[in-house]
């Protein structure tokens, strides 16, 4: 029983780290621009397909594939901001309308990928997959990579957001767009910056996911749903909150099975989200109520 709990906790921390990464990448964009960026899922998918095609068909090495996925994610996200969201901002579209446009873009992208590459899943090959045993817990090398990569990306990013000039500018725009403008920050540039950072992370996450779970046209939706949950769980505008939210989500999904009846297991994450929104809408570390 204890061994099982330890194993589940390890699984929870592994997927939770990736959720934290996704949460930060989505939450940074949402908190700063207030765009409910559902099409983040498309950024992730496009980058994963880019890596798969580069490695599989063009014979590029796996590390180069990862770099490529980051670059594609970054470019695709910035292009999305400029082509899809900026025009909407200029006509003062309501939040629901921006959300629907984002969904529309996601549907267009998924369909286009399906038409171009077919519905079948594609694996990002070339990573040596084997098992690792660490005391009572066991996991695969891919999962180990997820964990290590997530934290290797998260820690420097958190530090940069806290201590660098650009990090402060981002936080300034997130907390008050007009005031930030008054002290000489151009919010439009910051929008591009957060889309660039968030989408780069999404691209890398796409490649990481394709290592184990393969790439498919709709592969981005579940991870991005997890990202929403992590962000709202942790509290909008809090980077640390998103990381914590991701970990809580990962642990709840994996360990909830110990206490809950079977048929609730598939919906634990959404039950958690529902409860947080009802009882603590500002999230675990959120400062802004509602």
């Amino acid at each position: 029983m204890l061994a099982l709990a330890a194993q589940l906790a390890a699984n929870g921390l592994i997927s939770g780290s990736l959720y934290g990464l996704l949460g930060v990448s989505w939450g940074l964009i949402f908190a700063t621009t207030r765009v409910f960026h559902f099409a983040h899922a498309l950024t992730l998918t496009v980058a994963a397909y880019g890596a798969v095609i580069a490695v599989d068909r063009l014979g590029v090495g796996l590390p180069a594939g990862f770099v490529l996925s980051a670059a594609i994610g970054c470019l695709f996200g910035v292009a999305t901001e400029r082509v899809v969201y900026r025009p909407l901002r200029l006509v003062n579209a309501t939040q629901l309308n921006v959300f629907l446009a984002s969904l529309g873009f996601l549907i267009v992208g998924e369909s286009a990928i399906l038409i171009a590459f077919g519905p079948q899943a594609r694996e990002l090959a070339g990573f040596p997959i084997s098992g690792i045993a660490l005391g009572p817990v066991a996991f695969t090398t891919v999962e180990g990579l997820w964990f290590v990569a997530s934290w290797a990306l998260l820690l420097p990013l958190m530090a940069a957001l806290w201590w660098t000039r650009y990090g402060r500018a981002i936080r300034a725009v997130a907390s008050n767009r007009e005031l930030a403008q008054c002290v000489g920050i151009d919010p439009e540039r910051i929008h591009v910056l957060v889309f660039a950072i968030g989408s780069t992370l999404a691209g890398l996450a796409g490649a990481l996911l394709a290592l184990r779970d393969t790439a498919s046209p709709t592969m981005g939706v579940q991870p991005v749903l997890a990202a929403f949950i992590a962000v709202f769980l942790g509290g909008i505008g809090s980077i640390l909150g998103a990381v914590l939210g991701g970990l809580v989500l990962g642990l709840a999904e994996n360990m909830g099975g110990l206490v809950l009846p079977g048929h609730w297991q598939g919906v634990i994450s959404f039950v958690v989200l529902f409860l947080v929104l009802v009882f603590r809408p500002s999230g675990l570390l959120g400062v802004r109520a509602r």
Partner: protein
Amino acid sequence: MDFWLHVLNMIGLFVILGLSLNLLLGYAGMASMAHAAFFGVGAYTTALTARDLGLPFPLTMVVAVAVTALLAGVVTFPALRVRGEYLILLTMAFQMVVYGLMLSWVDLTAGRTGISAIPRPRLLGTTLVTPAQFLPLIIVCTAAVFAVAYRIGESPLGRVLKAMRDDEAATLAIGKSVLRYKVLVFCVSGGLAAVAAALFAHYQAFINPFSFNLDRSIFIVALVVLGGTANLVGTVVGGILFVGLPEVLRFLQARQDIVDAIRNLLFGLLLMLFMRFRPEGFVPEHARARPPAPPRPAAPTGAAGAARPPVPARPMPARPALRAEGLRKSFGGITAARDLSLTLLPGKITALVGPNGAGKTTVFNLLTGFLIPDAGTVLLHDTDVTRLTPWKTVRRGLARSFQDVRLFERMTVLDNVLTAIPGQPGERLGPLFLAPRHAAAAERRNRDKALDYLAFVGLRDKAGEIASSLAFGEQKLVALARLIATEADVLLLDEPASGIDMHWVQQILDLIRRLAASGKTVCIVEHNLEVVTAIADHAYFMEAGRIIAEGRPEELMADRRLAEIYFGTARP
């Protein structure tokens, strides 16, 4: 042939779903991503009651409607406090939970296998099986749902829903229980969705969870938004275009999954383009030109409309209309109001003056229930209203306006005022459907009343215009007419003359004087000291959350110490 009849049937079902969601999304302004979940709950209820309990057709639909409406009402409670992205996410979470349970609660729903062999309905001696046999039934149901939705949407009830959508706080401030209407519209929306659900379950004779997923919810939202929110004709058009038209693509010579992908691609593209270039949808809310206000025998009017306010003059009792005693309110470490006591006399105009941040608006919030004081009482005609919610306070006869006007921007000027009239039978489902004549008669009377209020402020000829299109000064007048329409006898006016030019100021002051002369109790918050001296009988001077002086405005103005506080320095 059968295929096209099937398409027609599906259009009918989606139109029902769209109409039911439009009440919630278009009229009440609540974006719900859970409509497919309600659709699913209705369908499973129908399937299980028909197959396992052996209930006959119309009864299964009745049960499904009741169960779904009830569930929608319960789910609403968490949704009451949140708006915008939080509501989207909350309803999305609910959608995912319901969908997940449909998949995994195998004992009840048979999981992915779904429920098959749902009995076909028997009507008028025939068992309905083919699309052609179902078509009349679906058409009748669609028409019925349209009639119900239209009746609700274009009634005083629908007017309150739109008011709530445009400004929740202002809706409370005209005496409408936002909570009640939110629960009501969720129940109605869920119940109507279950009509489509019952038809769907019987028509397919088989259901599984995949018809009720998040994509379906999103599709219904998109259908409503693309068709046109708060316009039911738009939803019918949306149903035909987005359910019917894509079927033409089936005749492309290609693999089924590619055809589906092309259809989705076009749909997504359309969604993006509409949000950018025509966000109001195919048939916008105010698509029909509104008839101008009917001509009425002109009242003897001066420059500012009717000479007398359209409220009966009351004998002026000497007793105070409103007494506040020892009000205190702190936010964290900041005390916004302390030991506040004031008295408002009927027929008199009282002013609250003081520098910015003195807590004048906080006083209004405390008096009207928008804030609950930590200590102290508010007595309205000797009854305690301290802890009443804002809308109840208004019903007791104490109403307030807002500094930033807060009109219902997308509604007409007439509707802005009309909504504020209390006790309209058409705001309740019972009279609306069971005593339509009574409701219609009341509506005619209230319409005349609202036009009178507009005439009083001199804006009768603007009755048909959209509120946001008016000049700011006119908007302030509409807000005043709306406030009078609440029929409250104590009126709190928050900076009624700020931000507008002298012409409007004179007119508004004149109106306020006449309101007081007719027996209303008036209290204003005002920065402009000239305005205060011009109309106030009595003034309270506030600083840092306290009343530090009171008296006739001229006396207060003459006090050097107060002038110093007000201007930051003594006047020469």
